[in-house]
Amino acid sequence: MKILRKQDTRIPRRPLLWLAAALLFTLPPMFGSLPSWVPLLFLIALAAKFWMEPKGYRLRSLVWKLVLVALILSLLFFSYGSLRGIEPGVSLIVMLTSVKILEAHTAREFHIMIMVAWVLCLCGFFLSQNLAIALCLLIAFTLLLVALIQFHRGSSSAFWPPVRTAGKLLAQAGPLIILLFLFFPRLSTGFRFQIAPQRGASAGFSDRLLPGSVSSLANSSEVAFRAEFPDGKIPPLRAMYWRGAVMWHGEGLEWEAPKAQVALPSTSQGPPHGQALRQWITIEPHDASWMFALDWPANPPAGAKLVPGNYLLSNQPIHKPRRYEVVSYPEIPSNRLHSREREPLLQVPADTNPAVRALAQSWSAEKAEPRAIVNKALEFFRTQGFRYSLSPGEYRKNDLEEFLFHRRLGFCEHYAASFATLMRLAGIPARVVTGYLGGEYNEIGHFFLVRQADSHAWCEVWFPDSGWQRIDPTAVVAPDRVNLGFNSFLERRGGAGQLDSQSVLARNLARWPIFGRARLGWQTLSYAWDTRVLSFDGDEQESFFASIGIAGQGPIFFIIGTLAVTIALLALYAGWTHLRTRPRGDRVKIVYESFCRKTAKLGAPRDPSEGPLDFSRRATGLLPTESDRIRRIAKAYIALRYAPAPDPTMLEQFAKEVNFFVRTS
């Protein structure tokens, strides 16, 4: 119970420590998305604060502050070229916060810092929203509460109580948060600033297939999407070809998808064959329009279109996790291939190597039947000593000869590209498809996790009788890649040499059962975060309202409704708090106080400092008619109060006496 003067406005050390811890936890989203000098300078400012504070130093001079701000502005301008957009904006806030840290000194500035830290949490969510970041920011949020509580507790220095209080507050806020999240209408403000964060090049999927473009993703453990099969029909891993884009335009080892795509008219395909496969896919944001589905998607989900080549494109770039349902069929027969469509599908670059041409023509001269030609080509890949490698070395764009006849070392994109070119040379319409193959099954969450490392490229050739047919030359060269999935494939091959040490560590850890379970659990949580929380936007909210039968109400209805429920919950909570903490009833005291109120009404108020005996003496003087009763009551009170073991019936007697006292007088 220390007592502190309020006039002492310096920020006490403990709340400052909590605040600093909270600020540290707002940093992780910044590393990686902002130039690293931004969070580093922020860290330096924090460290400097703790060096300066005990010495009483702080940033006082206005000139220095202005110089620092000007310096920051020019640094940001030089590193971004402009101050517009999410990243420069966030960087600016972070840097100004650093200056504020150096300057902050008083209790008022402490509160400003807390507010700024909350804005930093918001900035963190602008930069990244994955589960790990969300947990970091949750910790930061809690630490800010702890800092505030510690500040208002003053000098009490225990470590856990403020943490416990913050935890309790958060726990009590939990139901409210859920209520508001589900029901508070997501109004659109009208004045939007839709600026997507710029993502690094590692995000991967592209409309061009270059030698090395897929293998560069092989080490990326970033999640591409997750897929669930709600009907429980799960295709075998080797048949899990996730279709992403179709490349029509080929130049040897380089293939490209058309830029502008119109939706495929629904008449261009026949009725689907085979078993329908329903999938729920939650795609990670990649800021492009790619959407993935198993071969072959039949209908586009809402907000997307099916384009020639039977793949999905979103109408809007995907900036946040998005969940969609799509149904695929093993076969969707296409209609006839017109000769004007057929023409581009046979085009090869003019400078194709004569040896390559000769190889393809040797197959087509021997056999006229397309399937026989395809088998011949696959035979060639199987028997001629081709090897599958993550690092086949550099190939030039049209260096098919080097690949096919000399080095014979390649990754899936090399096989797909060369196979498609060879088919075209042999007179069979062919195209390259890129996407993902397989995925990792999570047995806790029952979903497939598809990573960038699962990127794959394969071929499709046209047979006049059955239409497009998938041919995966990689399956011939490295059958395990297709059957086991990429990770297990690498493990079996002992491919550690091709991976950086970090992923080797991760992989070795994953072999331990506990870590394996923990990893699966984390992935499941992360999936739930993406599907339940992140994808819950205005549209999802609408369909949620429809599912519980309250759709079609205006936003005012929901605002008033959530407000009413909130107030009711708060009232309940307030009542509960009151009941829990109200003073313990002391019956003797309560009865005696009611007696004193009664005498006061009769003109004999008890002085607060007056003992019961003194008061009864004075009261009998003032109220002679009641003197007997007053004396009896005083005697009973004294006995109940001070006797070592008062008779329990005495209290009832005393209460009756006091009760009686008012009625007769």
Partner: protein, 299 residues
């Protein structure tokens, strides 16, 4: 001594400056979340809102069961500081945190109590300047708290009937009168403490003669006290309001207050003569305070 009790009155909650900051941050987050259509930011918005909302009942109940009791106040001289000892008791079943005590009627005196456990009490002293001489009432004691998050301030107002006396400021440049009030026939002045009449006891001052120490009291375990004796009252100093040659009443009272203290220091028995009251000459602390009190209350 308990003040207030049933007559306590609770004013509604008042927002603090931090609340304006919070509202600004909430609007900023809402704007960011809705323009980016960012569910995680919405979650942050609702989390902050909900935590603030559930902190309201906590703030409201944080003063529940608290009582402040003013204890008796030592008189002070005008211009000096009055110290008001307050006992704050927590009759509730929960620990109360961050309580600020103020006296709204008496300037910006302010004390903070960080923590009072359930069923415990704590003492604190509020200091405020003693403005004018006379007897004053404390008026109200305000308990405020912004705990736990500092966005709202709850107030509990406890009326206090406790009174305090402010003595006149000791001031003036006139010399302590010689024994002008002596009635003619008395021959010689005798030093204090050497008379025949027992006048009381006062605290022993080191270096003093040990002849008059009240040894019987020492034997009873009390502190060292000196017995004081005075000679016959005649021929002793009478401090008279009408005898002070100053125009302003307050200045005259101040001069008298100074004289009273000087006389006490010099251990010259003194009396006080005001138009309303006359105090016979004597010495000692009770006498001093009696004189000063009369000066304070003089109208």
């Amino acid at each position: 001594m308990r003040q207030g009790g049933s007559s306590e009155r609770r004013l509604p909650l008042a927002p603090t400056r931090s609340l304006a900051g919070l509202l600004f941050v909430l609007v900023a987050i809402w704007y960011g979340a809705s323009s980016q259509n960012n569910a995680a930011s919405y979650l942050l918005l609702f989390a902050l809102m909900s935590v603030f909302l559930v902190s309201i009942p906590r703030t409201l109940s944080n003063l529940g069961g608290l009582q402040a009791t003013a204890e008796s106040i030592k008189p002070a001289f005008a211009g000096q500081e009055v110290s008001l000892p307050l006992e704050v008791t927590n009759e509730s079943r929960a620990t109360r945190y961050g309580i600020v005590l103020t006296l709204p009627d008496l300037g910006d005196a302010c004390e903070r109590i960080d923590e009072i456990s359930a069923d415990k009490a704590t003492r604190t002293i509020l200091r405020f300047p003693a403005a004018t001489r006379g007897e004053h009432e404390i008026g109200r004691v305000h308990l405020t708290s912004v705990y736990p998050l500092g966005f709202l301030r709850v107030l509990k107002q406890l009326p206090s009937a406790q009174r305090y006396v402010v003595y006149p400021k000791q001031a003036g440049d006139q010399r302590l009168p010689a024994e002008t009030a002596r009635s003619g026939q008395s021959s010689s002045r005798r030093e204090l403490g050497e008379g025949d009449d027992f006048a009381g006891v006062r605290a022993y001052v080191r270096g003093e003669s040990q002849r008059h120490i009240d040894w019987k009291a020492v034997a009873r375990g009390q502190a060292l006290m000196t017995k004081q004796f005075t000679a016959e009252a005649d021929g002793l100093l009478y401090l008279d309001l009408t005898a002070v040659r100053l125009d302003d009443l307050e200045a005259r009272l101040s001069q008298l207050a100074l004289w009273v203290i000087e006389a006490e220091r010099a251990r010259r028995p003194y009396g006080l003569r005001l138009p309303t009251v006359e105090i016979r000459p004597s010495l000692g602390e009770p006498h001093l305070h009696r004189c000063l009190r009369e000066l304070a209350l003089f109208k």
